[in-house]
């Protein structure tokens, strides 16, 4: 039963760090997204359905903290989780490099969806600024952090930490 709480617990901890201390490691104002990394790792190990579900949950938690536009992060992260989940049966699990590439593209897709939703919400950001100022740097930053965390996450997964947390 305890395993059911492991992933939500990790997501909550990541979110807490995200709104408090992650800002201390910003590069040109861009910060990595720890909850997004967790979603990518879990989706890569568990597949599309769980990837989309936990992406939605993680995004919703973030929306709640932001206090506005409920569903904005939920939708964009759920799509990323779904897409990463597609690769579950197609790649070796123990390569950080594969996860780095997946994280890069998943962040790109997720951030582009986010941008489209901002357009839907009538928040104007020039496309060039969005791409060069946010989408690309955040994808690169997320991908660069993968080697720091993925192996540890994978080891915990193999030890069965998330076993009861099946969806």
């Amino acid at each position: 039963m305890l395993g059911l709480l492991v992933l939500p617990g990790f997501l909550l901890l990541a979110l807490l760090l995200q709104v408090t201390v992650v800002d201390l490691i910003h590069v040109k104002g861009v910060v990595p997204d720890l909850t997004f990394l967790l979603v990518v790792f879990y989706a890569f190990l568990r597949g599309q359905r769980e990837g989309a579900f936990w992406g939605f949950v993680a995004g919703l938690m973030k929306d709640f903290i932001t206090g506005n536009y409920f569903g904005l992060n939920a939708l964009s992260t759920a799509v990323a989780g779904y897409l990463v989940g597609w690769s579950e049966t197609r790649f070796y699990k123990d390569s950080s490099l594969v996860v780095m590439v997946l994280t890069f593209f998943a962040t790109m897709v997720s951030q582009l969806i986010y941008y489209l939703l901002l357009v839907y919400l009538q928040i104007k950001i020039p496309p060039g600024v969005a791409l060069v100022g946010v989408v690309l740097p955040s994808a690169m930053y997320n991908a660069l952090l993968v080697p720091l965390f993925y192996r540890k996450f994978y080891r915990l997964y193999l030890k069965g930490w998330f076993k009861v947390g099946q969806f």
């Binding site: 408090t20 861009v30 903290i65 206090g67 939708l75 919400l121 950001i125």
Partner: protein, 278 residues
């Protein structure tokens, strides 16, 4: 579930989420009591984690710098920042005073106290993403903080309060793409609107600058106060570049803010304004 049913379910979910997104948009009036309680509880955790994080940062950076020199430099840079802010403010008052004296034959004299009632607050959290720029501060309705109050530091304008709970408040930074501040070029009194550009990048642009008003890099931009929720005369930033906007009808300028938004730790919230007696 058949694929048809699944698709139907997904479409319903998508429409619902898109609807909720609109309903909970930035301008909604009030958060629910449950949200407020949860935000207050989370704020306590945020305060502890932020403190720990800054402590760790200090420990990590400590050996890298010469202790006394570093402390002294920090003190001096704080002092310079404060004096710069005071200088800008003084300049604003001097210009205002001169204009009034000239136009209305008011008595000249040193600018009186700024007449601002402020409450200091610590930054305990930030927006988790890279698109928006908001901060959470540790003062809320219980300390007299209300929506639309102006937030600043001794260097200049930070933003405005957009939401409050009993013990926290959310501040929309002027660098947020949803922010717009009615502004003036300090010496020429050229009007314009200062907008955030994108997320956390920390840059601003001043738009709708009339074609016939000379504007150049190096000029200081302050809040205009005209029909605005922001208090008048607060320094915003310095113009770095001026160009014609795409329509050709106006100029637009890049503005470098005086406040370092990536290093905000404490802010002041203006809770009342008592204009100095003329």
């Amino acid at each position: 579930m058949t694929s048809g049913k699944r698709l139907f379910f997904l479409v319903i979910l998508l429409v619902l989420v898109l609807y909720v997104m609109r309903v909970t948009a930035f301008s909604r009036v009030e958060a629910t009591p449950l949200e407020k309680t949860l935000v207050d509880v989370f704020a306590t955790l945020e305060q502890v984690t932020t403190g720990l994080g800054r402590g760790i940062r200090d420990v990590v950076t400590f050996p890298l710098s010469l202790v006394n020199a570093s402390r002294r430099a920090e003190e001096l840079s704080d002092k310079v920042a404060r004096l710069e802010g005071e200088l800008q403010q003084a300049r604003e008052y001097r210009l205002e005073n001169e204009r009034l004296k000239k136009l209305l034959d008011f008595k000249s004299g040193p600018a009186a106290d700024s007449g601002l009632e402020v409450t200091a607050a610590a930054v305990i959290g930030r927006d988790p993403g890279n698109w928006f720029s908001t901060i959470t501060i540790n003062k809320g309705r219980a300390q007299g903080i209300k929506e639309n109050m102006t937030v600043l530091t001794p260097r200049g304008l930070v933003g405005r309060v957009i939401a409050t709970t009993d013990h926290t408040a959310t501040v929309l930074l002027i660098t947020d793409p949803r922010s717009a501040v009615s502004a003036l070029v300090q010496d020429s009194r050229t009007p314009g609107m200062v907008e955030g550009t994108a997320g956390s990048a920390g840059s601003l642009r001043m738009i709708h600058i009339p074609n016939d008003m000379p504007t150049r890099p190096g000029q200081v931009v302050v809040t205009s106060g005209t029909k605005s929720i922001f208090t008048k005369g607060i320094p915003i930033g310095e113009i770095t570049r001026v160009k014609r906007d795409p329509t050709g009808l106006f100029f637009e300028a890049s503005v470098r803010p005086f406040v370092d938004f990536n290093r905000l730790e404490e802010v002041l919230v203006i809770t009342g304004v008592h204009p100095p007696a003329l």
